[in-house]
Amino acid sequence: MAKKSKLSLIGRFMKGSVVLFILSMLSTLALSLIELINPQIIKVMIDSVIGDEPVDISSVGGIITNAVGGIPFLRENLWAIAVLIISLALVMGLFKYLSGVFNTAASERLTETTRNALFKKIESLPFSWHTANPTGDIIQRCTSDVETLKRFLSEQLTSVVSTVMLIILSLFFLSRIHIKITLIAALSIPFVVGFSFLFHRLISKGFAKCDENEGILSSVVQENLAGVRVVRAFGRESAEIEKFTKQNEIYTGTWVNLCKVLAGFWATNDIISCVQVMIVIVTGVYLCVEGEITAGGFIAAVSYNSMLTWPVRRLGRMISEMSKASIALGRLGYIMDSTSEADRNNAVKASAEGDIAFEHVSFSYDGKKKVLDDVSFTVKKGTTLGILGGTGSGKSTLVQLLCRLYDLSEDGGKITVSDVDIKELSANSLRNAIGIVLQEPFLFSRTIKENISIANDASTDDALMKASQIACLDRAVGEFANGYDTLVGERGVTLSGGQKQRVAIARILVRGTPVIIFDDSLSAVDAETDALIRSAIKKELGGITVIIISHRISSLMQADNIIVLDRGRLVESGTHAQLLESGGIYKRVFDLQHTDRSYEEVND
């Protein structure tokens, strides 16, 4: 990702939080400035109040001393110094508080904006993007990369100004005391910054390695839990533990190695900064003894030097963290820069009141293998189309194309709804007109009731009950203690495949779309319930267009027209009777499913 687009991205994310960030920086800066005054007061106190050096009236300490009443007054009233320090502490406390609050407010606002932007973007990305990118990876980007970015901006960026200012001003005040001591203190800066920077660079690889091993360990656990039945039924517990133990050791080992490096770094850092302080002290002693500086000056110099230590260490870390944050930003940019679904400029609203037609439709996911090859058929308004096809015959692709989860290429034929090419329609209005019950229905982690009404907030309880009756869901729901208020999904109960499918069917019925498609969505429901649902739909929703995809003949044979797909090609079409007559694939499948030997025996 280019630097410029990264900057514009961060600009986008920081929208609404810039002022807060500035306020946070300003209060941190104010805090640092006041902190710098204290050693001045201490110097005056030691040199002039306790000692008898004349006060340099041009210094900060001198100005303050005069303001509170001058040296003679202070000598008599030492409490005034205490009051002075406490008043400064109050102001400092105020700024400390403000900087904390502004900083959190800014970084949380930034996180909010970033997360919202990401979520919105993800919702708008085409379905092909979702299938191409692994879920875990995207969630990782949305959580830990956002976290990294936030941490960098809140912990590092806001303090960058005050850090630099603190270093400069500390050096400035030091130089007012003595130039030699300043040079010695400053000498260590590039050294510490460089060391710290190099080190953080070095360990970021170690951290990446740890993350990687954690991921592997995590998936060992995940697989074991997901496959618990298989593990048990094959009696492979020991082998699973062996696998886990090995990975657990590797994971722990990587961390222990990293810890060695970390502990070494911390110790080295301690040595460097302590030695630096020592050199400053010894230099100060010599300067004092030679009469170049006063005792108060010495103490102030040591204070200023200690104020240098932390910001300098921090600077090195900041530079290295910057590269981490930049990587995180790039990973977010990958999502933000992906191309969203877009309608044509003059897209019209769909009216699904008419026929649906596929005209010479060919499609390929990867540009190589054709999933659909020259498929044409028409579904008249208000009729039912059955689609029979085996695994990989392209039947689900038909549906995905119809609701534009994938777009047809230019030479891939066309699909029309009420005689309008669906490419001319707005995707939203098209999907609003077509209700699809997907093969593997997705339920949201909320109550059953909320799941059913999710696409139609305005639906009444009556409509809800009605839909649930048609979908043969009411009985199953009745068995739950909380009925329709039962929470499903991650935090609630787990529904069986058939129950999920029935919730998904009710959810579509509530929408009241003129077209409903069942994409093999009764597969987990037994044949008895399957028949009940279909007959109820037929009875209750007379005029709608229905497309049923299945490999169960009994689900299809009532359809007005049935097409048979075989490896992407439409090979047969007609009514149940016609297809049985013509003796193709349909007939073969029918015979397979209806090898009714025992029934014949009964009828003997």
């Binding site: 959580t143 039924a233 970390l262 010894v282 037994d526």
Partner: protein, 607 residues
């Protein structure tokens, strides 16, 4: 139910630390050494400012530099000691953190392997996964760095105050009065901070699940056109998160400010009272300056201590969760006698195992699921001689898996016995039984790794020839031939690189390869297309001959040849017999059968 307790505040006696002791015990020596070096580190922290005092009092005040070489050497010696001491204590602390985490992971994972199915039915995968992976890490960090922080900070506060008292008792006492004030203030803030910390964590996890929902549910969201609704709800959630965080920041910052104000109050007291006695010549300037260092230095340890305490309280939830996992006992356990004779899951004594023939008998079995109330089986009797093919049919959710769960001893009968080869199943080990069972699931599960590893899952020593033979039995050799790397191809996590039909065929081959005496097919043929199903059906017929088998199927056409068909309704077995007998009987089974196959049945519904 465990998951409902998740949001409750856990109050464990002594912060749950007693529950952690067994995990700390192996590292007791390490921890003691770590504490010792931690204390030594604090000692050097307290000593180092004294060098400054010495320099001022002895060199600067007297304007001499005699013996400064010794001073420098001593100073350097202390710095080096500090570095080494800190190196040791931090490294040990890291080790304790990682080893405790590792051991807890290991123990909890091993324990999970022994838990019965009722546990996995009650707790979903994500929940259990988080227990093993994140709770253990958090506890590891708590017991190591939490302890280290307490040692460092507490000893610093005590040491600094002690040193002050020794150097100048009166002035030290004056500083000491700040400490109780700090404690009272900390206690007040600490409560608030714990509450906020928990709230923030909760809101954050809600955001993560919303993200995950928005991503995994992309197809549903698009086709339902509820993007706007989802976005609005998401924004509400992130807004809530920000508001809680900012509210918490008010308290946190106020707390920090108050403590730093207290520190400066200490400094002010030192300058005032100390200034007077220094001016009077009672105290030296160097001593005054070291007092200032200590006075300013004791407040941030207090803040750290509060932070540690907050973390400890926050971690109660983690301790509580992991210990409840470890304390969950399996409903199904081998008796000590059985373990003595046949070994346990981890150290089986295979030499003592008998051959399993495959006779199964339910003798007067009554059964209630551990988390249920209803009697699912009521004094049920059924003899299944070896080699019998049993089919179980019924509506979705009718409880077709119950018998299989009992046969596999995933659950045990509430009353009565399940006999395997004439002996109560409880008289032999679970592993013995499981080693003789082949299982093909409704949703086939493959593990990441090569296809070969997956197929050899139940028979790790199988040769490639045997694997190919098993694949041919189920007509799945084509799958392998199509793959460029053949048996070495990666299956992907959960078999992600395979289609459902392929996974099904492979998991079938896997079961065959294990050459089990008992074979269970759990709705195995419901998600492949009819032609593939036919292929599998032929394979099934070859494979089940000579084995005791249970088939749970949706499509009745696959089971008409079964020796016994059990029809299940509302959790109970309502009919049993051969297809012929049941059809003649004209009961529930024949109704199911007709519904599925007869057009008339459908038309009847139409009217």
């Amino acid at each position: 139910m465990e998951k409902k307790n998740e949001n409750k505040i856990a109050h464990l006696p002594y912060f749950g630390i007693p529950k952690l002791l067994p995990y700390l015990k192996p590292y007791a020596v390490m921890i003691i050494v770590m504490i010792f070096f931690g204390l030594a580190g604090t000692a050097t922290d307290i000593v180092i400012p004294l060098f400054q005092k010495y320099a001022i009092n002895n060199y600067i005040a007297r304007s001499v530099t005699d013996g400064i070489a010794v001073f420098v050497l001593a100073y350097i010696a202390v710095i080096l000691i500090q570095a080494v001491v800190n190196l040791i204590s931090t490294y040990l602390c890291c080790k304790v953190e990682l080893y405790v985490g590792r051991d807890m992971k290991q123990k909890s994972f091993e324990h999970l392997q022994t838990l019965s199915f009722s546990y996995f039915n009650r707790n979903n995968t994500g929940y259990v996964h988080a227990r093993v992976m994140s709770d253990t890490d958090r506890i590891g960090t708590l017991v190591s760095w939490g302890l280290m922080d307490v040692v460092w900070n507490l000893s610093y506060v005590v040491g600094a105050i002690g040193t002050m008292l020794v150097i100048n008792f009166k002035l030290g006492l004056l500083i000491l009065i700040i400490v109780p004030i700090a404690i009272v203030i900390s206690a007040f803030f600490q409560r608030k901070l714990v509450t906020f910390q928990r709230q923030i964590r909760e809101e954050n996890s809600k955001i993560t699940s919303r993200f995950s929902e928005g991503i995994t549910g992309a197809a549903a969201i698009k086709t339902l056109t509820i993007e706007d609704k989802m976005y609005r709800e998401f924004c509400e959630q992130t807004g809530k998160m920000r508001r809680v965080s900012v509210k918490s920041a008010h308290f946190n910052s106020l707390f920090g400010s108050t403590l730093s104000f207290l520190a400066y109050t200490g400094l002010a007291l030192v300058l005032w009272r100390g200034g007077i006695i220094t001016a009077e010549g009672v105290m030296e300037i160097g001593t005054l300056s070291v007092f200032m260092t200590y006075a300013l230095g004791i407040m941030s340890p207090v803040q750290f201590l509060v932070g540690t305490l907050t973390n400890l309280i926050g971690a109660q939830v983690n301790i509580e969760r992991i210990s409840s996992l470890m304390e969950t006992e399996s409903d199904v356990k081998d008796s000590p006698e059985v373990i003595r004779k046949y070994g346990d899951t981890f150290s089986p004594r295979r030499e003592a195992w008998e051959m399993l023939r495959g006779d199964i008998e339910f003798r007067d079995v009554s059964f209630i699921y551990p988390d249920g109330e209803e009697l699912v089986l009521d004094h049920f009797d059924l003899k299944i001689p070896a080699g019998t093919n049993v089919a179980i049919v019924g509506e979705t959710g009718a409880g077709k898996s119950t018998l299989v769960n009992l046969v596999c001893r995933f659950f045990e009968p509430t009353e009565g016995q399940v006999l395997i080869d004439g002996r109560d199943a409880r008289e032999r080990s679970q592993l013995w039984l499981h080693s003789n069972i082949g299982y093909v699931l409704q949703t086939p599960h493959l593990f990441s790794g090569t296809i070969r590893d997956n197929l050899r899952y139940g028979n790790p020593t199988a040769t490639d020839e045997e694997i190919m033979a098993a694949l041919r039995t189920v007509s799945a050799e084509g799958i392998i031939e199509r793959l460029p790397e053949g048996l070495d191809s990666e299956a992907g996590e959960g078999g992600a690189n395979m289609s459902t039909g392929e996974k099904q065929l492979l998991s079938f081959a896997r079961a065959i390869l294990a050459d089990p005496r008992i074979l269970i097919l759990d709705e195995a043929t419901s998600s492949v297309d009819t032609e593939t199903e036919k292929v599998i059906q032929d394979a099934i017929n070859t494979v089940i001959s000579g084995r005791t088998s249970f088939i749970i199927a949706h499509r009745l056409s696959t089971i008409v040849d079964a020796d016994v068909i059990l029809a299940v309704r509302g959790g109970k077995i309502v009919e049993s017999g051969t297809n012929r007998e049941l059809m003649k009987k004209g009961g529930y089974y024949s109704m199911l059968y007709r519904r599925q196959f007869e057009d008339e049945a459908f038309e009847k519904l139409e009217r």
